[in-house]
Symmetry: D2
Subunit: 342 residues, 4 copies
């Protein structure tokens, strides 16, 4: 059975990544592609790397006839996304890649994103899209909210450790190194090659990055008490990849054992042998997440490092994994391609 798919917001990086992955998916067919600012253009004009694919022209999302569509990916900027999604037909399954439905609490949404939510009812209905931890709910969901790419990386490290209480909750530090495609195709001076390449800097220092809203929501729920982590993202001169270095108090071997157990059956999460360290080079372009645990020379301190591709496992790959579940397809379909190294 081939499922018919629409993508709204097909001219950004996450839209393109969805097309890249679906290109070899055995059970999906792209029925419609929307990008309001580039309506009328072909995909080959917007993304020449996809020119070998036979795909529909870009239209505005209002032009799409959704009657035959099974599932729609929304890869729009936040705020725009909630406005569009609230107007889509109710029969449609939706995977949203924006930030709009990640936070369940309207007040938290407004605090982190600065505007009141325009679709509060749908916000309640949305399932948080971190597949490995919400799998059953995702299967039955109509609307799944893709997680933040940094938020996914941090949670792959910390969720099992918080659930099993093998680490302290008061001094968790997440130091992230993030590739530039996480910022999307937006035109900003600091994203120019001339200003990005050959250097690095921190940003949103001091607990101001919006993905903290997700950490707070998820970790506090898991712990049954308020958990606040410290989180500093850094921009590195690479196009794909997030490396999260996490500093915790706890027994490193217990930390490792907890993660090994938690991800034992997971097709995409690889916990490395104790003492090994992952690299973003080894997950680039793939849906895999590698996690390594090391003990510190200071007793009772552990360091956990996780690597994933922000555009794949951190965004469009996760979205496709969730769509597979929602459509009753093989969860790994279209997602087993190996990383692109070197």
């Amino acid at each position: 059975m081939t499922c018919k798919i629409a993508i709204i917001g097909a001219s950004g990086y996450t839209g393109a990544e969805l097309l890249r992955l679906i290109a070899t998916h055995p059970d999906m067919e792209i029925a419609a592609l929307a990008a309001n600012s580039k309506a009328g253009q072909t995909i080959a004009q917007v993304f020449p790397f996809l020119r070998h694919l036979d795909l529909p022209k870009l239209v505005t999302w209002e032009e799409i006839d959704f009657s035959g569509i099974d599932l729609c990916f929304c890869a729009l900027p936040h705020k725009t996304s909630q406005e569009v999604i609230s107007k889509l037909p109710t029969h449609l399954k939706i995977v949203d890649l924006s930030a709009d439905f990640r936070l369940r609490d309207p007040a938290a949404y407004e605090k982190w994103y600065g505007n009141p939510h325009a679709a509060v009812e749908m916000q309640k209905e949305a399932v948080y899209g971190l597949t490995e931890f919400y799998r059953d709910a995702i299967r039955d969901a109509r609307l799944v909210a893709g997680t933040g790419c940094n938020a996914a990386t941090g949670q792959y490290i910390l969720r099992p450790l918080i659930s099993d209480k093998v680490i302290g909750f008061k001094d968790i530090i997440l130091d992230l190194k993030c590739a530039v495609s996480g910022a999307g195709r937006s035109l900003k001076e600091n994203l120019l090659h001339a200003e990005m390449s050959e250097g690095t800097n921190a940003y949103a220092v001091g607990g101001t990055h919006r993905h903290l809203g997700e950490f707070d929501q998820e970790f506090s729920a898991l712990a049954g008490e308020e958990v606040r982590v410290q989180f500093t993202p850094h921009l590195i001169p690479a196009n794909r990849g997030i490396l999260a270095t996490c500093y915790v108090s706890g027994d490193a071997q217990a930390v490792h054992a907890t993660l090994v157990k938690a991800y034992a059956g997971e097709p995409f999460i690889e916990v490395l042998p104790f003492g090994e360290t992952p690299s973003t080079h080894d997950v680039r372009g793939s849906n895999f997440c590698h996690i390594g645990v090391t003990g510190d020379r200071i007793d009772g301190r552990a360091i956990i490092v996780a690597a994933l591709d922000n555009l794949t496992k951190g965004s469009s790959g996760q979205a496709l994994q969730n769509a597979n579940l929602m459509l009753g397809l093989d969860e790994t379909a279209g997602l087993m391609l190996a990383p692109c190294f070197p």
Copy 2:
């Protein structure tokens, strides 16, 4: 029917690229992997990006039992390759990725590579592996010689133009920009990140690059007269990709029409609309080759630019395409993955 595959030289970049591609091939199973210098190690140790795959341990090639193997890829350095291949069982289909069987003339081989050929009989038997132009011979071959990655790029531009005599033969210039993975995993100062990144230089200037042997052999045969091109490769700070800029005398529209016609049915060669220009960004990690033609302001001069990924279409992708033909499989199996952008 699943074909059993061996790879000799699995610890280099072209070996790794074969494994990346075959990972999603529906009809191939990796039965043996050899890398004499790393025998005893797992692939996860040598190439952590492949750690999700269930693959045999590395052994020496002498340890492989070839009785059940259908086809063997040899991804060894040149010279070593001919020595190993001459000792392999004769029932075995072989795709060689080295330079050893590209030149049919032993004297030409010795001239360009500096040593007499150690397997002259096999050299005669080998079929030149430029799939689009030797497809029928490859189907029936026992031994196929993968082309040089630069040689492939130049030939995709020039073969149809020479065959159809739409360009002059006396003033052909090929200016190539080549990514560093073409040099393999060899440890040289000029391949260090610190010396490569953020800059570019020409090398093998003046007609000394070995891939000229292939150009001379192939173009002279096509033209029915001796053709000598000028060819200057440049190293650019990128890991994958070759961009060939070719300067010829001839009518640009005729050049374009000839290329469009030549590649009309080809699954991997895309001739862009007249006046458009390809980018290596748009073929990275894929088996596609994009070709663009533009006329110059000077009448009677045309510029043709081609882009491909040296590790895929220029080497391991080509090798897999040829193996598919030799084994009677779908020619595009394992090769339709979209480029990895951004």
Copy 3:
């Protein structure tokens, strides 16, 4: 004697590069800095890398009191530049870094830049700023027009060869590899790190790049006949540097001898021993230009490769060298800093 300097257009890359160079100049003092879009800001806000310098705040150029200023650099976009310069006081020496005064013929200017020139009288007066070839005129000039960075690179190769008639004029090909800072700080999708890094492409193919106007003007004047070169620029993933590969007919040894002689006394132009090849890595951040000559295997063909830093020798370094001459200072003052490697 300390000369008082103003810079108009100080918030772009060439303005910043001027400040970097002048920072260690013994005889220049920055008296005023203008950047109309960022007036009111400090240089530390616009260019944090210059925060250690004690510099005036940015103002609009209209706010500058030019009465005490000896020389003004204009680092504005073309078209804006001619409008501003035509309103500056006539006592002021001016070095313009834009394209506005490079072409002496108003018709040529309009052809390449698409608009009639707004200051035709000044256009006649301007001296072309290729220091090594216009040194005496520059010394006496009131207005010097900085050359295009690609135009400079090509002329360093070709001017002596054309003057001395050691090469053919009918088949000159210039294939350039250009770093991204040449495009300035402009916000374009293709200049984003995510779209630039790890790949390359040609642009302005077929003789449409504006720097051809300079080649045509200068080479035809030198030859005493119309000379038209083929010129294809390529964007490479590097921030600084131009590598020009030039294909000519002529005797390679004679070509080398001509260049050695032409640049014998020049402080910044280094002709390498015959057969050696330059790299942009070796000139980065400096005012040096390295040139190498090699003969081709085809008799009567030579390849000349030149490397310089587009922001320094190709633009702001050249501008400072000219300013030194105009002010009667040591020509090399502020310019002897070594390249930044690795």
Copy 4:
């Protein structure tokens, strides 16, 4: 007065960086250059970017006549350095850039470097080369030990905070992002461009990096009690630059005030306004160190980020600054060049 300088180990990156800096030093003359593995070659052969300089040929260090030399830089690998230095004439002032004389305790040296020290007496005499904190001792020293580049970066953040006891000593975390030139010109697979570019990874995780020996020695001495920090270095795809992100408990404003006061008169250390964050882009190629302080959303937590160039302020620039002091020259001579941006 011109001082005569020798460099032993001139063919590595720190040796080259010394030459780059000294090139514009008004009071130093390079009298001898040694590089035993490349003796007989010119600097232009080993480092073409220095070809414009008139420098002596490379010799073995045993060939140098030290009688007229005022000061010798040793840029050798550790262990080799102590062996060579112990044989140099005793009149000679020496700045060592290796790790050999950084640790005052022979047992600590043996613990971190794995071999007993071969020059224990000199080890006692050596002054630790962190200029801002050992300035007076350096002025009078015969032998100064350059610090580790990571060790310098961490100490610029932490020394004043530990001295003034404005932070807790039990939970200090240093997460460093380090450019590849810190690994020197050594030939290792993971330093190849193909394996480094476009990604990042942690290394020496868990408290095994040798620069911890320096942190332990210096911080414990300052605190008057044992201080053990957590320190994780990461390799980033850049050639120059270290960014240190430091997580501490303490009042952020007090932290900022302490750093502002500590570095008030320093020519090379810039403490940014509270809440601003530095970037390695803004110090590249220079001797400056930028430090920023931000408070976290969690009360009582501060984040300090420091950026410097590992080859300049982290190594050769520091060495030159110390040499200036030892020779009675202006401390900033040869070191005021602005960073190279973009």
